[in-house]
């Protein structure tokens, strides 16, 4: 067993894990933060996307031990003081989700895109979603939601 210490959604946690444990498993099974989803076993779908030290990564492709000493943000850490994050609001307002399974990963990827500033075009948004699959929406309203959140300019950092 290995010890992994990290700060997750603003809380410091220390966990004993098998060396082979994936970060996604640590988040879901050991810390009980089940908002992060696992949708494939080949790192394609992006449902497990979280922020590791401020960058969007697929948590199924990172070993838990690699996250030792890191700061992690998951979908559960986006809302602040009971107020939804602008991307959560925008996905809701623009109907950017149906079954909701890809949504946490989509939002975390979008939060990374918007954190780097600017007002991305639709093409740039679609390109940024390259690592995230959705089977319900045809991406149309996901793009609209991200554009909507971007147009608000401020407060989009995770």
């Amino acid at each position: 067993m290995e010890t992994v210490a990290l700060e997750i959604n603003g809380v410091r946690r220390e966990v004993q894990v098998e060396p082979r444990t994936l970060l996604a498993e640590l988040i879901r099974d050991h810390l009980g933060l089940t908002g992060t989803k696992v949708g494939c076993d080949t790192s394609q779908c992006g449902a497990c996307t979280i922020h590791l030290d401020g960058k969007a990564v697929k948590s199924c492709t990172v070993l838990a031990v690699q996250a030792d000493g890191s700061t992690v943000t998951t979908i559960e850490g986006l809302a602040r003081n009971g107020a939804l994050h602008p991307l959560q609001e925008a996905f809701w307002a623009k109907h950017g989700l149906q079954c909701g399974f890809c949504t946490p990963g989509m939002i975390m990827t979008a939060a990374d895109l918007l954190a780097s500033g600017g007002n991305p075009t639709d093409d740039e948004i679609r390109h940024a979603l390259e690592g995230n699959l959705c089977r319900c929406t045809g991406y149309e309203n996901i793009v609209r939601a991200i554009r909507e959140a971007a147009s608000q300019g401020t407060g989009v950092t995770a």
Binding site: E18, R20, R28, L33, T34, G35, T36, K37, V38, G39, C40, D41, T42, Q44, C45, A47, T74, I75, E76, L78, A79, L84, Q88, F91, W92, A93, H95, L97, Q98, C99, G100, F101, C102, T103, P104, I107, D122, D123, I125, R126, H127, L129, E130, N132, L133, C134, R135, C136, T137, G138, Y139, E140, N141, I142, V143
Partner: protein, 796 residues
């Protein structure tokens, strides 16, 4: 009396783009899907699956696996011999079906790669998966066949003893003789072999199940990724376990998409219930994506020999389709019904075609199970019909728009009986020209043709493709679809219970199951509008056999056109009772009471009123009720539709083909749908968007491929092309509204139109682009390689 009430009622929220009430839990990650479930003492299950497409099992040695760290038990099919095979609940009507269905774990033989043969129960998922490698199976591989035409040929490996020539059923509809005669008399006959390739649904949440068993009472609770928990309970208890249905509770928690693939009773659901009993602990199994590819149902997979007769002016006089439907190595729950009732009976499309005949041979092959996938039969029918129209147009050198208009069923022809092939049903309502005209206007058809002409002179290949589809939703009248009609082994009505609590808050429980469609919002909109209460006062509950009335579940775009109509019916009766109670409270006669905007008031004296909250309170307390009335505002309705509904529309795709690489770029996509009355346009548009993406993906990118030994070559998201955001242009949507007269809401259903319509629109566009090269058809998916080869062949 009821009519008066309905007319007086506010319908403020119908047609409004209300934000979904289910979304806060989904955007924050708090919604609980199956894998988010943890039960006290829960053990984990991994399943050993067949690496061979066709093999006998000589024996299975589980001893090493059983001794592995963390392993609680290892089980094989022999441990569950007392359980019956899963039922085939929809057999093709009017012909013998030679059925073979799966067991919880196969015992002697496997007929497709991925069939489960052993299960490990362990303390952790990792320990269970580790132990799979220690199970030794004595496999005796048998010759395999994967192609449906090869499977029915002489000398093909026999897959099931009871199915000669590997034929599940040989079904037909329509008039063979009249069709043959019409083809003989036609000015032109176009013939084409069409392959409607196998697709893999790929709901983003794979399947899973968990179960617990109470030894003291013999009661099972099974959580499952299901679109139809009530049906699962019925099939498991009555057909597999042989116990009363009251001994099992089935729960579908938050479900992450289905597209048909989560309708069925799967071996793993039975297995989890049985394992929970065996080990005396709760168990959970979560499908890996790789398992999802091999062990969850696939869709489509038809080979069709199409013949279309037409007059020289483009009038279509006959359609004949001879179809081989690949149903896989073993039958899924409703497999034979999809390529028969839902395919053959829709081969008239939006057109007045006097002679239609369809023969379908359902075929076993050593491939994964095939069942309904979004659209289910109607996409295959629409593909055949819409390609047929374009082939006729090409043959006669006519504009495909012109040929469609020449053959459209006229608005005054409804209700329309398409040459008797709907077995007694009729298309309800329609105005096909209206959606076509609007779509042509949006796309700028004439301008495009001019631009295309210029592009062709410049050596560029632009194409435009149409699909003016009609489909069948709101399945179905029980008397029509049931055993005596279409062979479905049950009814297909839907249910709802509405209760107005003492506080005026409304709770709806429904037999349908939402897995992304937003029922909690749509149904609440209908309730809030009809009853005149705030939307936030309405809660919709579903997906748990304990606490919801029996219903057949969600598929075939039936939850609005059947399920929500049941809700509507309950509300009407609640309002009638509210009027009686108000009359009593206001000391007047019920005839003088009007129900409107959440109040029952005296006609002509709106100040003399009781709110629904006051009435519900009085009804719940029950101190002072009118003679003969029971306490509480509570009503359960069962709605069996008199007909299916028939949404329609016009979709237009614009593409450019790079003749050097074969790459197809989808430049524009226009969809004008008519799904009847729209309850929530935000949700309906979302359904259309997603449907289009899946249909376009079939046309251009997706396809399951087996090698000749029955190994699935496209067995992960690395090999199978689920499309990404970058591949689509902005989708251009509009709609017309032609309400159905089948139900009082006027709704037809919107869950599948996009998928059904879009596939032929895109293929027609690509073929149109390549018309100058003489290319008349390319089989899907139109990948760069296929298109490039077609171009090279045409140029040679």
């Amino acid at each position: 009396m009821t009519t008066d009430v309905t007319e007086a009622t506010t319908t403020d929220l119908i047609g409004k783009p209300i934000k979904r009430v289910e979304d806060p839990r989904l955007v924050t990650g708090s919604a609980k899907y199956l894998d988010d479930l943890t039960l006290p003492g829960m053990a984990h299950v991994a399943i050993l699956r067949s690496p061979y497409a066709h093999a006998r099992i000589g024996g299975i040695d589980t001893s090493a696996a059983a001794a592995a760290p963390g392993v609680i038990g290892v089980f094989t099919g022999k441990d569950f011999e007392h359980l019956d095979p899963l039922p085939c609940a929809w057999q093709a009507a009017g012909t013998e079906n030679f059925t073979a269905t799966p067991r919880a774990l196969e015992i002697d033989r496997v007929t497709f790669t991925g069939a489960g043969v052993a299960a490990v129960v362990a303390e952790s998922r990792a320990a269970a998966e580790d132990a799979l490698a220690l199970i030794e199976v004595d496999w005796e591989p048998l010759p395999a066949v994967v192609d449906p035409e090869a499977a029915v040929a002489e000398g093909a490996p026999q897959i099931h003893e009871n199915a000669a020539s590997n034929i599940v059923m040989d079904w037909s509809c329509g008039d063979a003789e009249a069709t043959q005669r019409a083809l003989g008399e036609a000015d032109v006959v176009v013939e084409q072999r069409l392959v409607n390739q196998r697709l893999i649904p790929n709901a983003m949440e794979a399947r899973g199940a968990a179960a617990q068993h109470e030894a003291a009472t013999g009661e099972y609770t099974v959580w499952m990724t299901s679109q139809a928990p009530h049906v699962m309970r019925l099939l498991m208890t009555a057909f597999v376990f042989g116990i009363p249905e009251t001994k099992m509770r089935c729960i579908a928690p938050q479900v992450g998409g289905g597209f048909g693939s989560k309708i069925y009773l799967y071996p793993e659901y039975v297995l989890m219930a049985a394992l929970a009993e065996k080990v005396g602990r709760p168990v959970k199994w979560i499908e890996t994506r790789r398992e999802n590819y091999v062990a969850t149902t696939h869709g489509r997979d038809h080979v069709t020999y199409l013949r279309v007769g037409a007059k020289r002016d483009g009038t279509i006089t006959a359609i004949s389709a001879d179809t081989y439907a690949n149903l896989g190595g073993i039958l899924s729950t409703i497999a034979p019904g999809i390529p028969t009732t839902l395919y053959g009976r829709m081969l008239s499309g939006a057109y007045r075609i006097p002679a239609i005949y369809c023969r379908v041979r359902g075929v076993y092959t050593n491939t994964g199970m095939v069942d309904a996938y979004r659209g289910a039969g109607r996409p295959e029918a629409t593909y055949a019909v819409e390609r047929a129209v374009d082939l006729v147009a090409r043959e006669l050198d006519l504009d495909p728009v012109e040929v469609r208009r020449r053959n459209f069923i006229a608005p005054e022809a409804f209700p329309y009986d398409p040459a008797g092939i709907l077995n007694g049903l009729k298309y309800d309502t329609g105005d096909y020209e209206k959606t076509l005209a609007r779509a042509l206007e949006i796309v700028g058809y004439d301008d495009f043709r001019a631009k295309q002409e210029q592009a062709r002179r410049d050596g560029r290949y632009l194409g435009i493709g149409l699909s003016t589809y009609v489909e069948m939703c709101g399945v179905a009248p029980s008397a029509w679809i049931g055993v005596g009609g279409e062979g479905w082994g049950a009814g297909l009505w839907e249910s709802a219970n509405v209760r107005v609590h003492l506080t005026g808050k409304v709770v709806v429980t429904a037999g349908t199951q939402s897995h992304g469609q937003g029922h909690e919002t749509t149904m609440a909109q209908v309730v809030a509008s009809e009853l005149g209460v705030p939307l936030e006062d309405v809660t919709v509950e579903h997906s748990d056999t304990q606490g919801t009335p029996f219903g057949y579940g969600t598929y075939g775009s039936r939850s609005a056109a059947v399920g929500t109509v049941a809700v509507h019916r309950s509300i009407q009766r609640i309002k009638e009772k509210a009027r009686r109670l108000a009359a009593h409270m206001l000391e007047t006669s019920v005839e003088d009471i009007v129900y409107e905007d959440g109040k029952a008031y005296v006609k002509g004296a709106p100040d003399k009123a009781k709110t629904i909250q006051e009435i519900a309170g009085a009804a719940a307390l029950g101190y002072d009720l009118p003679p003969g009335d029971e306490p509480f505002l509570d009503d359960t309705a069962y709605y069996d539709p008199p007909n299916c509904t028939f949404p329609f529309g016009a979709h237009i795709a614009v593409v450019e083909v790079d003749a050097e690489t074969g790459e197809v770029k989808l430049e524009r996509y226009v969809a004008v749908d008519d799904v009847g009355t729209v309850i929530n346009p935000l949700i309906v548009d979302g359904q259309v968007h997603g449907g289009i993406a899946q249909g376009v993906a079939q046309a251009l990118w997706e396809g399951a491929t087996y090698d000749e030994d029955g190994q699935l070559l496209t067995s992960s998201l690395m090999e199978y092309a689920v499309p990404k955001a970058e591949l689509f242009p902005t989708l251009e949507l509009d709609r017309t509204v032609t309400p159905t007269d089948v139900n009082p809401l006027g709704v037809k259903g919107a869950g599948e139109t996009g998928t059904i319509a879009s596939t032929p629109a895109v293929v027609n566009a690509v073929v149109d682009a390549l018309a100058p090269l003489g290319i008349k058809h390319i089989d899907m998916p139109l990948t760069p390689e296929r298109v490039w080869r077609a171009i090279e062949e045409a140029r040679a």
